[in-house]
């Protein structure tokens, strides 16, 4: 069974090779024997990998997981296989790069936009930023009006799926 995990923005695959007598995982072709089972909860944790105790701290936040290990921070997300199958190229929506509020809308639903055109101006910590069209297309929905606030990574604008060329 292969799991897809995004760690600090990079996709990794973890394969459960064996569960008995010890858990063996394969990452990038390398096998690791894991014992000293930790819990999946938050806080200080210890697991054993190849007999060596690994100490770390962990916290969940929504579907994200924050880790502190070896004096370094990591952020992980388990990739939902359904979202991969949906095949969204990432080009069909405009997400908020940071939390903030909508200052103004430059386009309306059904408008045609060209790649790079400003659709929405947002503000966060007194910084104004333009949200640009990721590709040419037609606006399917604008999910925030002027004055509304949003969190980082929230979808602000959706584009209509591109017409099939073939």
């Amino acid at each position: 069974m292969v799991f897809k995990l995004v760690l600090d923005g990079n996709l990794h695959e973890i394969d459960i090779v064996r569960r008995r007598p010890h858990l063996v995982l394969r990452i990038d072709g390398r096998e690791h024997e894991v014992s000293g089972i930790g819990s999946y909860g938050d806080g200080r944790q210890t697991i054993e990998i190849a007999g060596t105790a690994i100490h770390f701290a962990r916290a969940h936040a929504g579907d994200r997981q924050f880790l502190r290990l070896d004096g370094r921070s990591f952020e992980a997300k388990l990739l939902d296989p359904r979202s991969v199958e949906a095949g969204g190229s990432g080009q069909d929506s405009v997400k908020a790069p940071m939390p903030g509020a909508v200052i103004s809308l430059h386009k309306a639903v059904r408008d045609h936009v060209l790649r790079g055109e400003t659709i929405v101006t947002i503000e966060s910590m007194k910084l104004q930023t333009a949200l640009l069209a990721p590709r040419d297309g037609v606006i399917a929905a604008i999910l925030r009006v002027a004055g509304e606030v949003f969190d980082k990574d929230e979808v602000i604008v959706r584009l209509e799926a591109p017409a099939q060329v073939n």
């Binding site: 799991f3 995990l5 938050d42 990998i49 880790l67 992980a76 910590m125």
Partner: protein, 506 residues
């Protein structure tokens, strides 16, 4: 040495007349002030918006008062309401902390008019130092070096003539400006007129005000500031300097005391200039005089902050003085804590500002929640914070979450201890800058004390996040995978009949 924690009050014969002090602030600085009030046996009053009713500062204080406002920030800026709260609860003084109303002359005046002591200078002094032009003129009139400049004008030719007389390089700025708009560096007379024209038209476009001015451009400037105390009678001392050159978005992220590699004569001259300014202003309070120091050893007055500074703990650590206590004693009319000659400095201290931001995305602010907080402990460090488990980190307030302040017998040890403490610290649930701060401290240029305000930009590539060692990467992947319930259950799933109880074995 005195405890760097500056938490043990020295017994004095003078009794402080304040019985109850309201802190017109929140977060780490409110907690910091409450600590000293407790040590002095003075009752503390916290103020809070309803959205922060359970915040640490509100719980730590002896009493807490809710202040109303559309947003928490608006409530904390509502001076009239805060003064009414102070009167109603019987506070005899207000400590403003930093930010919010701390440098608001109108607030200081209203506090005094209400018969409450303002722990800070009088309104006239705040106004004098709060206006860049009047502060600069005052400094120049008292022999403090200010950067030569040409005042705003719309006559481009006259402007270019006067500006050229200062010498190059020059910085052209919009009079109404900010954020780098309408700014340019001019290195020769031939570029001057054209640069001034462009700056004026940009200034007109961005700010509706085409006036520009020029001042000496300082190459590789260092931000050196001097902690001062004045008694309001014209007596003043300095508590040595701090260096705050490591900045991003024009805001400090690492500060230290003393400054690295500062020639003793230069250091003496900068500190003496600060004391001269403060004595001339008959300044009453703790304050900070900021200077810009060029690679050529020339230094110029930048501004004076008439309040406690975010980075004051580094000065406390090297002097053993409690600056909040000094502020309160000065406000009570007890004068300065000691004579200049008795002021001793011990070792080196570094402060790292821990912010909810992503250095990999141009330090943009991040939101989340404090899901786990594990803080290193040692007698040489202070973790200044107002954080609570589960606390949401929003954009309602400044992204600074906490300060890690570390002391060492010398700069190398202070750096090593800071890096170790940053690595040990775990603040999980929101993206923060601690790994970046550790990389800055470990950078050879920082270790060498080769600092200037462009440090972050100059070393951008070297300071970017590197790939983790393969060993650590795999460990992190395994730790993360086991933290996801779906994976954990599958990995440790037991044969079918026991599958449902499997997860309870932990």
């Amino acid at each position: 040495m005195n405890s760097p924690l500056a938490s043990t009050p020295v017994v004095t014969a003078n009794v402080i007349p304040f019985k109850k002090i309201l802190i017109a602030n929140r977060g780490e600085i409110a907690c910091r002030v409450i600590r000293t009030l407790s040590a002095l046996g003075i009752a503390s009053v916290a103020i809070h918006h309803r959205l922060e009713a359970r915040a640490k500062h509100a719980r730590m204080a002896d009493q807490a008062v809710e202040i109303k406002g559309e947003t928490p920030v608006a409530a904390h800026l509502d001076g009239r309401q805060i003064i009414e709260a102070a009167l109603a609860i019987g506070a005899d003084a207000i400590h403003p902390g930093y930010g919010f109303l701390s440098e608001n002359a109108g607030f200081a005046k209203a506090v005094a008019n209400a018969g409450i002591a303002f722990i800070g200078p009088d309104a006239a002094t705040i106004a004098l130092m709060g206006d860049k032009i009047s502060a600069r003129d005052f400094a120049a009139a008292h022999g403090i070096p200010v950067a030569p400049s040409v005042m705003p004008t719309q006559d481009i030719d006259a402007f270019a003539r006067d500006a050229a007389a200062i010498g190059f390089p020059l910085l052209i700025k919009a009079a109404a400006g900010g954020g780098g708009k309408g700014m340019s560096i001019v290195r020769s007379a031939s570029e001057l007129t054209e640069a001034a024209r462009i700056a004026a038209s940009e200034a007109q476009r961005y700010f509706g005000d085409g006036r520009v001015y020029a001042e000496t451009y300082v190459e590789r400037p260092r931000h050196i500031e001097v902690q001062v105390l004045g008694d309001g009678q014209g007596n003043a001392i300095h508590l040595f300097e701090r260096e705050c050159s490591v900045q991003r978005r024009f805001q400090k992220i690492i500060e230290e005391a003393p400054a690295a590699n500062l020639a003793p004569e230069l250091r003496e001259a900068i500190c003496a200039a600060a004391v001269r300014l403060v004595a001339a202003a008959k300044y009453k309070n703790a304050g900070t005089v900021e200077f810009i120091l060029g690679a050529d050893g020339r230094f110029f007055f930048l501004e004076m902050n008439t309040r406690l500074q975010v980075e004051h703990p580094v000065t406390e650590m090297i002097t053993g003085l409690d600056l909040v206590r000094a502020q309160i004693e000065i406000a009570a009319g007890h004068g300065l804590p000691m004579a200049q000659g008795a002021m001793m400095q011990n070792g080196h201290a570094i402060e790292c500002r821990i912010c909810a931001e992503d250095p990999a995305r141009d330090f943009l602010p991040e939101t989340g929640a404090v899901q786990y907080l594990g803080v290193p402990e040692a007698d040489y460090l202070r973790f200044e914070n107002g954080l609570d488990p589960g606390q949401r980190i929003t954009t309602d307030f400044d992204p600074m979450l906490a300060k890690l302040v570390v002391h060492g017998p010398d700069r190398d040890v202070a750096i090593a201890r800071s890096i170790a403490a940053l690595k040990e610290l775990a603040l999980l649930g929101v993206t923060i800058n601690i790994d970046y701060l550790a990389r800055v401290l470990a950078h050879p240029a920082f270790r060498a004390g080769d600092l200037h305000t462009g440090f972050v930009a100059e070393h951008r590539e070297a300071l970017a996040v590197g790939e983790p060692a393969p060993e650590a990467l795999h460990q992190a992947l395994i730790a993360a995978a086991l933290g996801f319930r779906e994976f954990h259950d599958l990995a440790f799933g037991v044969p079918e009949p026991h599958a449902t109880i499997g997860r309870w074995r932990n």
